[in-house]
């Protein structure tokens, strides 16, 4: 007896094997489509096309024009070396999000946020959850007060790291693990307009050891949600999990004694008393974008920033 798929289908439909008013591939397709187990399978031609994600402003007009903004429900990675303007862009994005009255979270792997800078850039602290990773793992045994915790850095501000107790010296690996776990919790909790992960001070040799599955998990957690997941790193780490990858670099701008603006690197020999640090000139480059069906762009733009001093 024949055991071909067609025969099996006929048996499943309760027809004799020889009954076939039609013949050929059309008949096979028709009968396969009537097989009960295959009815629930959506045809490839009817699959939905994923809609383009909604884009929100980064808070810097030039970068918005370059990338179109930050996509919701996607992972965006901003990378660059020290003093490339990553933190300025991160805080500008957070300020824009909090101005939109969205609740945001900042997972600070190296506890590097300067609240004065964030206030100056316009972040509304009432809508920003700041998680400071690093230091001693787990809760502090002495912190038993049910009152809202309040402490100032003044008392220990000028203690160097060599003067600190061993438990307070940060281990980048431990801080990174904490940051990943906290990010996972925040994304699973949901409801945040933006979750920013600051890995800017984590050395690349450690950041690149983040398993790709972690990034994939983050990307899956924010998929189909209105959350913007933003990460800043030294170099690209998330690879294909990032929908948008921006690379930043900058040059500092100073003002000389005559009041003329110039690039700092061109006036090393001048007397420092006559100089003023004006800000950073940020150059952005799209390394990778999954949002548009075209090859990665290398368009550069610049934006000048104002130096902040409390």
């Amino acid at each position: 007896m024949s055991s071909s798929p067609l025969f099996c289908t006929e048996m499943a439909l309760g027809r004799p094997p020889g009954f076939s008013p039609k013949s050929g591939p059309a008949l096979v397709l028709e009968r396969l489509s009537q097989t009960p187990r295959l009815v629930a399978v959506t045809q490839a031609s009817r699959l939905e096309i994923r809609p383009a994600p909604e884009m929100v402003s980064i808070g810097i007009r030039e970068l918005d024009s370059l990338s179109g903004g930050l996509p919701r429900g996607c992972l965006t990675e901003i990378c660059g070396p020290d003093s490339a303007g990553r933190t300025s862009v991160l805080l500008a994005a957070l300020a824009a999000a909090t101005r939109r009255e969205e609740v945001c979270a900042l997972v600070d792997a190296s506890d590097a946020l300067d609240p004065a800078s964030a206030a100056a850039i316009g972040v509304e602290f009432g809508r920003l959850l700041w998680v400071r990773c690093g230091g001693a793992d787990g809760p502090q045994p002495s912190a038993v007060s049910p009152q809202p915790s309040a402490f100032r850095f003044q008392s220990s501000h000028f203690r160097s790291d060599s003067q600190l107790p061993r438990s307070e010296v940060r281990d980048p690996m431990s801080a990174l693990e904490q940051a990943l776990r906290v990010t996972d919790l925040l994304l699973q909790s949901g409801g945040f307009g933006m979750v920013a992960v600051d890995l800017g001070d984590v050395p690349f040799r450690i950041a690149r050891r983040i398993p790709l599955t972690s990034w994939f998990r983050f990307q899956r957690a924010v998929e189909r949600t209105p959350t913007v997941l933003l990460a800043i790193t030294h170099a690209p780490c998330a690879q294909s999990c990032a929908a948008l990858s921006l690379k930043l670099r900058s040059s500092a701008i100073g003002r000389n004694s005559s009041g003329k603006l110039s690039n700092i690197s061109s006036q090393f020999s001048a007397s420092s008393h006559t100089h003023l640090f004006e800000g950073l000139k940020i150059e952005g480059e799209i390394l990778r974008s999954r949002l548009e069906r075209k090859p990665p762009q290398s368009v550069r733009t610049g934006c000048r920033t104002e130096a902040m001093r409390a």
Binding site: A120, G122, Q154, L164, E306, A307
Partner: protein, 514 residues
């Protein structure tokens, strides 16, 4: 038409125990009272009665009964159970009488239009009482005393129609007339009635009133009126205080948090049921543990303050678990007292076009979990302090704002001039990195940081100093010079903020411009 319901919980001390230990329901349980070794049985349940245990027996006598579970009487547990019973009664009527610890009378006048006919109300009352963990008798009658007698005499749900009280109550023994077993006249009257051959209420009701009055006085007339169901009185309404407490006294101290979680789960379930019955939620949970470390006992308190009123026992349990994990009691637990501060429930109705915001319940749980990972002081919202000192801020509890805050709330040292202008921000090194700086013509010329190898070399460019000082009138006064410097690195030029502490003369790198 007047209608009254009575909830009677037989063997109340045992049921108060079974309410927090439901796994003992199918077993014979006896509750002991008194100090060792003179403990006596105070209450037993029906399986224990069948096993031979009875009230007043000594501990030694009941220990002879096989498979009998013995527990010590706990007044706090009974108090919680009685409060739960009152909360349950208030579900059906605002006018309730607290007749005794095991008996509650409800005025059902006018409640038929809300809850349906009287038999349905009686069944619903029995069902809700059962949900609260009690096996109670419920009786409905036109008179409160008749309802009480019926609830004491008939098991389950009983509805006595008007004018048929004497007929319905007739089969009950005369003992049901004495709800209080400590009544001094009880024994004497029962003996007298027994000598007359009066066994049930029908016989008592049939006695001639004058002759009964001559022999037993007014008390005899009262008892006969009760037996006929012919009394009439108004309820003495009580307003239960909004106190929501659950307590458990443990036979053996707990040393692990895991079994504690099981007990807390039961207590939270009862608390939430009581709060729900009063249409309330809670914004503060207080856990009080009595610790027994062998030599003496001490109290251990934890308080959970919630940003919004919640009523979810699972979330409460998880929050308590996380809190106890972070702050372990440190000694075996002998007694648990859990109380909730009642609050009006949150009216959660968000608009369609509001920006995304985390659910308060989930957010609270997430914050507690994050605090367990990074520490309590390291998660929250920033609050700037009104001082010129750099890095002066404090962390406060994170509660998302519903609306735009007034500008005066958040002090900020400087505000952006325009929304389109971006500010170059600083990344802070916590703690600041100590540095060795060489000066040339009063200007930093070379820097070396042992802890950060990349900050090493000639200072290519520098601007400063920016001098500031403050708090000189306090012990923690500060005075400093700030420099903005550029240092060549492998990846390019990096900009740092260099600080000289003028009080100690030491140099620090405070952060990097990024």
């Amino acid at each position: 038409m007047p209608a009254f319901a009575c909830i009677f919980v037989p063997d109340f001390p045992v049921q108060a125990l079974l309410r927090v230990e439901p796994d003992l329901r199918s077993q014979a349980v006896a509750v002991l009272e008194g100090k060792a070794p003179l403990e006596k049985v105070f209450a037993v349940n029906e399986p224990a009665r069948r096993a031979g245990a009875g009230m007043g027996m000594t501990k030694l006598q009941v220990e002879a009964c096989s498979e009998l579970v013995l527990r010590t009487r706990s007044p706090s547990r009974e108090k919680s159970a009685h409060a739960a019973l009152l909360d349950c009664a208030q579900l059906f009527s605002p006018c309730i009488e607290d007749a005794s610890c095991d008996t509650i009378i409800l005025d059902l006048a006018g409640m038929e239009s809300l809850f349906g006919p009287l038999p349905k109300i009686a069944r619903d009352v029995a069902q809700r009482v059962s949900d609260f963990g009690f096996e109670a008798n419920v009786a409905v009658a036109a008179d409160p005393d008749t309802a009480v007698i019926a609830a004491h005499g008939f098991p389950g749900v009983t509805v006595i129609p008007e004018e048929k009280e004497a007929e319905q109550l007739g089969s009950l023994p005369v003992e049901v007339l004495f709800a209080d077993s400590n009544d001094p006249d009880r024994t004497q009257i029962l003996e007298t009635l027994s000598r007359w051959g009066i066994r049930n209420l029908r016989a008592l009701a049939a006695l001639p009133e004058v002759a009964l009055s001559e022999r037993l006085g007014q008390e005899g007339i009262r008892l006969q009126q009760l037996a006929r169901g012919a009394t009439s009185r108004a309820l003495i309404p009580v307003e239960p205080p909004p106190v929501f407490e659950e307590a458990i006294e443990l036979e053996h101290p707990l040393v692990l948090l895991e079994p504690l979680a099981f007990l807390l789960a039961r207590m939270l379930e009862q608390l939430c049921a009581r709060l729900s019955a009063r249409a309330l939620a809670t914004q503060e949970l207080r856990l009080q543990l009595e610790l027994d470390d062998g030599s003496h006992t001490k109290a251990f308190h934890r308080t959970l303050r919630l940003p919004v009123p919640l009523l979810d026992e699972k979330i409460f349990l998880k929050l308590l678990q996380l809190d106890l994990k972070a702050h372990p009691p440190g000694a075996p637990i002998a007694k648990i007292l859990l109380s909730a501060e009642p609050a009006r429930p949150r009216a959660a109705q968000n608009g369609f076009f509001l920006p995304p915001s985390p659910e308060p319940e989930k957010l609270e749980l997430t914050l507690a979990r994050i605090a367990g990972i990074v520490g309590e002081n390291k998660v929250g919202a920033v609050q700037m302090m009104d001082t010129h000192h750099p890095q002066a801020f404090q962390m406060r509890r994170f509660v998302p704002q519903d609306s735009r805050p007034p500008k005066a709330e958040n002090f900020s040292p400087s505000c952006p001039q325009s929304k389109d202008e971006t500010v170059t921000t600083l990344r802070i090194f916590r703690p600041p990195v100590s540095a060795t700086v060489s000066m040339r013509d009063g200007v930093p010329a070379r820097i070396t940081c042992p802890k950060r190898k990349q900050i090493d070399g000639e200072i290519l460019w520098g601007a400063g100093p920016w001098r500031s000082s403050g708090d000189w009138w306090e012990r923690e006064g500060w005075s400093r010079d700030e420099w903005d410097i550029a240092v060549q690195q492998e990846s390019g030029i990096a900009l740092y903020r260099l600080v000289r502490d003028l009080l100690s003369g030491r140099w620090f790198v405070e952060g990097t411009y990024d």
